[in-house]
């Protein structure tokens, strides 16, 4: 169900959306999802028109994909972000970058993705068009093709404007980073850029916090940085992960659990933009717990951290990478942080969504 505030904004759709279904309706109706003429028109005129490629144009029940050599990687993700458009991105670009990034950090070259749209009745067609355009741009930027899809329309109130699911297939490229279970003492931890930007951008716009400048999401592709890192560092890389929900802290906890060691971070070297830091200080949030959508963590063997930072620094997507910590014998907690002042402290695993404090 959409929150009341959004419902209020969406209430204007009702005015523009006639009850009778016509081909000229300027918003998505239940009839668009019923499989008839309107469904075909929606798919042909809008979805295929925006995303056109040889696989989609064939309009088969299943996409016939060319043979590839070597093992595959497969991932799926659903996107329910509210609002649909936010500073620095929208649900469309997010749904492509999110899945593509998951493939890239797993060691795969992203090739194809599927796209399922669950549309709430009443979504303006101009909104849908803008999102499809954004999906097309993101697909082009990342070099993936949208090869199959599905469209469902659900009654008003059964979704929040638009939900998207994307499933991605990629070709695993050797040597595949062996994963966090292979982390060893003295390995080095790197973050590819300033943290917490996506979560704070969403929070600011969702709650209408009048921040100037408006915090921007880091929503973007990590394909090029991952590719360059792997080319330059090869088997020096232990593991990579985009730090989405739960932020840096959640990834660190997963890695610590996998290897049984302590991951120790140094707060002073973790990049945080003034906008993100300002909102976090104001609301009592820890940037380490806030979501990212185009920022990743990399663990490399001892001594390889500086080279990794140098590679990332040369790329526009990851211009502010930092060495933020090391892997140590299991100590006081699975993940620790040394802040500007005071002793090394445990860094807690995020519990639910961060709630702003009262004062």
């Amino acid at each position: 169900m959409m929150p009341d505030k959004e419902k209020n904004e969406f209430a204007s759709w009702q005015v523009n959306c006639p009850v009778s279904v016509t081909a000229n309706a300027d918003c998505v109706t239940l009839a668009h999802g019923e499989g008839g003429r309107l469904s075909r028109k929606l798919i042909q005129d809008r979805i295929i028109h925006s995303l056109k490629n040889e696989f989609l144009i064939a309009m088969n029940d299943a996409a016939h994909l060319p043979e590839i050599q070597g093992p595959l990687a497969l991932t799926t993700d659903s996107f329910v972000v509210s609002p649909l458009f936010f500073p620095g991105g929208d649900i469309g670009s997010l749904s492509v970058f999110g899945t593509v990034n998951d493939l890239a950090v797993s060691g795969a070259k992203p090739l194809w993705i599927t796209l399922s749209l669950i549309i709430e009745e009443g979504l303006p067609l101009v909104v849908l068009d803008r999102i499809l355009e954004s999906i097309a741009c993101a697909a082009q930027e990342t070099g993936v093709k949208i090869v199959a899809g599905d469209t469902k329309v659900v009654p008003r109130g059964a979704a929040d404007g638009l939900f998207i699911n994307t499933t991605g297939v990629g070709e695993l490229i050797k040597p595949i980073p062996p994963g966090p279970q292979t982390l060893q003492e003295k390995d080095e931890l790197i973050v590819s850029g300033p943290i917490g930007r996506h979560g704070i951008a969403i929070l600011t716009v969702r709650e209408e916090l009048a921040m100037e400048p408006v915090p921007q999401s880091d929503c973007g592709s990590l394909i090029r940085p991952v590719k360059r890192l792997r080319e330059e560092l090869g088997d020096q890389i232990r593991c990579l992960r985009d730090a989405t929900r739960g932020g840096v802290a959640a990834v660190m906890h997963e890695w610590a659990e996998a290897c049984g060691l302590t991951l120790s971070l140094d707060e002073r070297s973790i990049p945080v933009s003034p906008e993100v830091r300002g909102v976090c200080e104001l609301l009592g949030l820890d940037p380490l717990h806030v979501a990212n959508e185009g920022t990743m963590l990399i663990a490399v063997k001892q001594g390889a951290g500086a080279a990794a930072v140098e590679v990332l620094q040369s790329l526009a997507e990851t211009a502010e990478p930092r060495l933020i910590g090391t892997v140590n014998p299991r100590g006081i907690a699975p993940v620790t942080v040394r802040r500007t002042l005071g002793p090394e402290q445990p860094l807690d695993d995020p519990l639910g969504s961060p709630l702003p404090r009262i004062c």
Binding site: P3, D4, K5, N8, E207, E208, L209, P274, R277, G278, E281, L283, G284, I332, A333, R339, T340, L341, G342, P343, E344, Q345, P346, D348, L351, G352, L355, P356, R357, I358, C359
Partner: protein, 363 residues
């Protein structure tokens, strides 16, 4: 970042720590009143650094932690009504009443919205006349003026679909009640800087004289806290009891007069039930009779639920300095942030949560 980094400078902090250690002839026991201060003392390792020199008792200054369970139960009860939307601040949502938290109620289908300002709740009520909106107003004198403004605004719009559960509490009566206990251990107070920003600090003069305890108005950043602690220790070593303002960049002796006028106009002082403490005379605020049409307890005639008191949480002993959170037998075992027995383990300002998060020895 300006106004932040200069108050977290490690070199300056070390100088203050050294000075506190140098002048202390014995271990002094201070109480920081505010939960925000507790959080900062633990997060920046100050409490640990001063071990043996200054013992810090973490006072009752987390308004979420002292909110009466009956008020939370009432809020949950209203939130579950078909046509009601309950609004409140974020960290109120996880605090358990005697029958679960607002988040539990939300999971069970209640309509609950987090707001960042009570005025946002007024706006929601104005734009959705078909629903009844209730704002669950918690906090000390710091948040009371914002609620007062919202009530005035609701009055101006003549909103008939908006009401308040007022659970505002007052700091000074709680401090009085603490030092009136025969076994209290407090030798000096760090007064909450933000409360003094609104209310000023002149009202502490009679308190200092009566109880002969130093009171130092203190801020929240590490250097603010260390300056406040140093000022307390200096007074104690000189056998003095004075009122001092060490948060002068924000606090004036008279406070914010416009905010105080607003509080006066809307509320009157009342006795108040504090969770963990019991009834504190003059410990709370309630709506004046002329504003009572905005009182949710008048608007809704829900039968009062009996508070199921399991009596396991030992927050009273924590907040009065008789035990440190890790000394509670439930700490980190049956009581943790995922399944808290009491409010201090839930709120980001709560003493138990601060120890759970930051204290190395505790975890």
């Amino acid at each position: 970042m300006k106004y932040l980094d200069e108050y977290r400078d490690p070199g300056a902090a070390q100088l203050l720590l050294d000075e506190i250690r140098r002048i202390s002839s014995r271990c002094w026991t201070l109480m920081e009143v505010c939960g925000g201060q507790t959080h900062s003392l633990l997060r920046h390792g100050i409490a640990a650094e001063l071990q043996g020199t200054v013992e810090l008792i973490h006072g009752p200054g987390c308004p979420v932690c002292v909110t009466d369970q009956a008020a939370i139960d009432f809020a949950c009860q209203l939130a579950q009504k078909e046509d009601v939307v309950l609004t409140s601040f974020g960290d109120m949502l996880r605090v358990p009443g005697s029958r679960g938290s607002l988040l539990d109620a939300q999971t069970a289908g209640a309509n609950i919205r987090i707001v960042y300002s009570p005025l946002d709740a007024v706006e929601l009520a104005r734009t959705h006349p078909e629903k009844q909106f209730v704002f669950f107003a918690v906090g000390f004198e710091t948040t009371a003026p914002a609620t007062a403004l919202a009530i005035k605004q609701a009055g101006r719009y003549q909103l008939e679909n908006f009401s308040f559960i007022v659970s505002h509490v007052r700091v000074q009566p709680a401090m009085e009640s603490l030092v009136q206990a025969p076994d209290h251990r407090v030798q000096a107070f760090l007064a909450a800087g933000h409360v003094c920003t609104v209310m000023g600090f002149e009202s502490y003069e009679p308190f200092v004289k009566r109880y002969q305890l130093p009171v130092v108005v203190t801020g929240f950043e590490p250097l603010d806290l260390l300056e406040g602690i140093l000022a307390c220790v200096k007074q104690l070593e000189a056998n003095e009891a004075r009122l001092e303002n060490r948060y002068a960049r924000t606090v004036r002796s008279t406070g914010n007069l416009a905010a105080q006028d607003l509080v006066q106009e809307i509320y009157q002082v009342c006795d108040s039930e504090w969770r963990g403490f019991g009834m504190i005379p003059e410990g709370g605020l309630e709506l004046r009779p002329e504003w009572q049409n905005f009182d949710a307890r008048m608007r809704f005639t829900e039968p009062a639920l009996r508070v199921i008191d399991l009596d396991e949480c030992r927050s009273f002993e924590v907040m009065t300095g008789h035990i440190k959170p890790p000394e509670c037998p439930h700490f980190g075992k049956s009581c943790n942030p995922e399944s808290p027995l009491g409010a201090p383990m839930v709120s980001s300002e709560g003493a138990c949560a601060a120890y759970y998060r930051y204290d190395v020895t505790a975890s």
